[in-house]
């Protein structure tokens, strides 16, 4: 794309215009990030009296720690679960809403509301719904013979946090999918109908492939969300338990740093997270622009 080149008559004006953004980035990103990087090489004694520079020892210990490896595994399943659940439900809603004509806008409005709810509130909401003593869901599940208890069952706990985290994200995915569906020319669907494809086949051979750029974009966004923005959900529902079953990486950073006061290890974990974010962002920018399916 050709960008218009702007020339300033004054030399310091462009710098002044850029300054607010640069200052914000420096104070809220570069500085804390470099602090984390620095701290990840340090180790303090229990009383915080002595700090030693230990090079990569914090990282070495992490990757030897079964709890950390478990957290990686938990994070992986949590991200996959949240992404798959929120995207498939959102796609289903988008397809259904897209078939409506007059009521489309009101449905869209209602379906977007959950996005305005803070993750912690969403967590509390689902915590109530699934509360083993007072919740409605365990009561109903009992009717089907299932004894729900996310305080003791790690599967139940994981299911709960995935539902709570995915619920919020459905709105966001829904909007993108709906916009994507509306950008597919109606004549393509009609041509496929004349070409003898059933409704089901039309969706999987025409609509879904044409949505693939959006699907890919949402996949990255959702993985990033599940890995980094779900602290509130975990904190409000399971607090990482039972027995580390829902202790995802971001939550472990908080626990190890602020509860267990192992700042060196916590910093090392955040550095690893930072690395993951960078990789995901690179993937997103690389592929979003290039890998368009058609």
């Amino acid at each position: 794309m050709q960008t218009k080149r702007m020339t300033f008559s004054n030399n310091w004006l462009p710098y002044a215009l850029l300054a607010p953004q640069v200052i914000v980035t420096l104070i809220f990103f570069i500085w804390p990030a470099s602090q984390a990087l620095y701290q990840s090489f340090l180790r303090q004694d229990i009383f915080g009296l002595r700090t030693t520079f230990v090079w990569f020892d914090n990282f070495n210990r992490l990757f030897a720690d079964p709890l950390y490896l478990n957290s990686l595994k938990v994070t992986f399943w949590f991200s996959v679960g949240t992404t798959v659940l929120s995207m498939s439900v959102a796609l289903l809603f988008a397809v259904m809403v897209n078939r409506m004509i007059r009521s489309r806008d009101s449905y869209t409005t209602f379906l977007v509301w959950p996005y305005a709810v803070a993750p912690a509130i969403a967590g509390v909401l689902w915590w109530f719904i699934f509360n083993p003593s007072i919740g409605i869901m365990p009561y109903m599940l009992k009717g089907f013979g299932y004894d729900w208890n996310h305080r003791s069952s790690s599967t139940d706990a994981m299911t709960l946090v995935i539902i709570a985290a995915a619920w919020k994200q459905i709105s966001y995915n829904f909007l993108f999918f709906l916009a994507g569906l509306q950008s597919i020319p109606q004549s393509l669907i009609e041509a496929a109908a004349i070409d003898g494809a059933s409704r089901f086949k039309r969706f999987w051979t025409i609509v879904f492939p044409l949505l693939s750029p959006i699907t890919f974009f949402l996949m990255v966004v959702n993985v990033v969300y599940a890995m980094f923005d779900t602290f509130g959900v975990i904190h409000a529902t399971t607090e990482g338990g039972p027995a580390q079953a829902t202790n995802i990486l971001v939550y472990k950073v908080y626990r190890d740093g602020f509860v267990n006061l192992n700042l060196g290890s916590s910093a090392a974990q955040s550095v690893i997270l930072m690395g993951i974010v960078i990789v995901l962002t690179v993937i997103q920018f690389r592929y979003i622009e290039r890998r368009v399916n058609y």
Binding site: A191, A193, I194, G196
Partner: protein
């Protein structure tokens, strides 16, 4: 190969919006029928009703011997070419052509044979591995045609297939589509808003206005004897001129217009029927002031004002005359070239 019979077809949308009414057309096997009319006349709706993309709310539609009112588009044995081509952007040209055959469960080698045959016929053989976006407008048009061809359907439906092409390509594709249709002998229904396309391509053309048929006939029938003032104004370019009969009666001897029916209070004159030659036997002389001379190479259009007539009258001459704008010119027209209409009903009288 099949005939198509439309019996009192009509379409009313929810909310009582009427799009098409009382359409009766019998399309013979192998015939090319062109539906023509201004935008909003219901021609596309009618085509989509035949395709099965719009429900039919009135009347019956038969393709061959089957009543197809309730059938899905896929079961009507028709193929359609869309205005924007509607090629599947994520599939190669080959797969675009093969898609309809695969869905119908054809064998792989049969699909391959048919696709290659169609590709050779349309000269798109070397593009089979490309995606639609790598093709030019004309090539995409051919692929869209190919997708209709491979199915070997009972009828082709064309929805303004040439309107996205530039003028030169449009003429070329027009010829190719017509030749192909004649060669294959497939019944075709072709929608266009372009009267020239309609005249050149049709075996018979159907002029639609406001969801109703104004006239059905061969191109020359419609051109030479337009049934209504609407058809007279729509078919032919520049459009037919309309003059009140009273104006002509004031110009000529009383018996000169004796052949005109009494009800005819409006007279149509084709621009090319006006000539600069002096009026002879059986001709009427008309004098007007030349407002604008449009030379167009082999011909010229003269825009004239007649005393007491609000509308501009256009004359088309097969040469560019040496005349000054603003001068008064006298034209002659043969009396039997006048088209008599009844202004109130808009219908042709005799």
């Amino acid at each position: 190969m099949a005939s198509i019979t439309m019996d009192n077809l009509g379409k009313v949308y929810t909310g009582n919006v009427r799009a098409v009414s009382d359409v009766n057309i019998d399309i013979a096997d192998g015939e090319m029928i062109v539906l023509v009319g201004p935008s909003g006349c219901g021609k596309s709706t009618l085509l989509r009703m035949v395709a099965g993309l719009e429900t039919i709310t009135e009347g019956t539609l038969k393709i061959g011997d089957r009543v197809v009112n309730q059938l899905e588009p896929a079961d009507r044995d028709i193929a359609m070419v869309f205005q924007n081509y509607a090629l599947y952007p994520h599939m190669t040209v080959f797969n675009n052509l093969a898609y309809g055959l695969k869905n119908r469960g054809f064998k792989k080698d049969e699909i391959d044979r048919r696709v290659r045959e169609a590709a050779t016929m349309l000269e798109i053989g070397k593009f089979l591995d490309r995606k639609p976006r790598q093709l030019s407008g004309g090539q995409r048009q051919r692929v869209a045609m190919g997708r209709a061809l491979v199915r070997e359907p009972a009828a082709f439906l064309f929805d303004e297939p040439l309107s996205n092409l530039d003028a030169k390509l449009r003429v070329q594709m027009r010829v190719e589509i017509r030749q192909l249709q004649k060669r294959l002998g497939t019944t075709s229904l072709y929608v266009t808003h372009d009267q020239l396309e309609a005249l050149t391509m049709a075996d018979r053309l159907v002029v639609l206005n406001g969801g109703r048929i104004e006239q059905i006939g061969t191109p020359m029938e419609v051109y030479l004897r337009p049934a209504t003032t609407f058809v007279a104004g729509f078919i032919g370019s520049p459009a037919m001129n309309m003059l009140p009969t009273a104006y002509l009666r004031g110009l000529v001897a009383a018996d000169a217009l004796a052949h005109m029916p009494v009800a005819a209070d409006l007279v149509g004159l084709r621009p090319e029927d006006l000539s600069l030659a002096p009026a002879g036997e059986g001709e009427i002389a008309l004098t007007g002031q030349l407002m604008l001379l449009e030379p167009a190479g082999a011909e010229s259009h003269l825009h004239l004002t007649f005393e007491g007539i609000k509308d501009t009258i256009v004359a088309r001459l097969p040469h560019v005359p040496d005349v000054q704008e603003g001068s008064h010119l006298t034209f002659s027209i043969r009396r039997d070239k006048l088209h008599p209409f009844d202004q109130a009903t808009g219908k042709r009288v005799a």
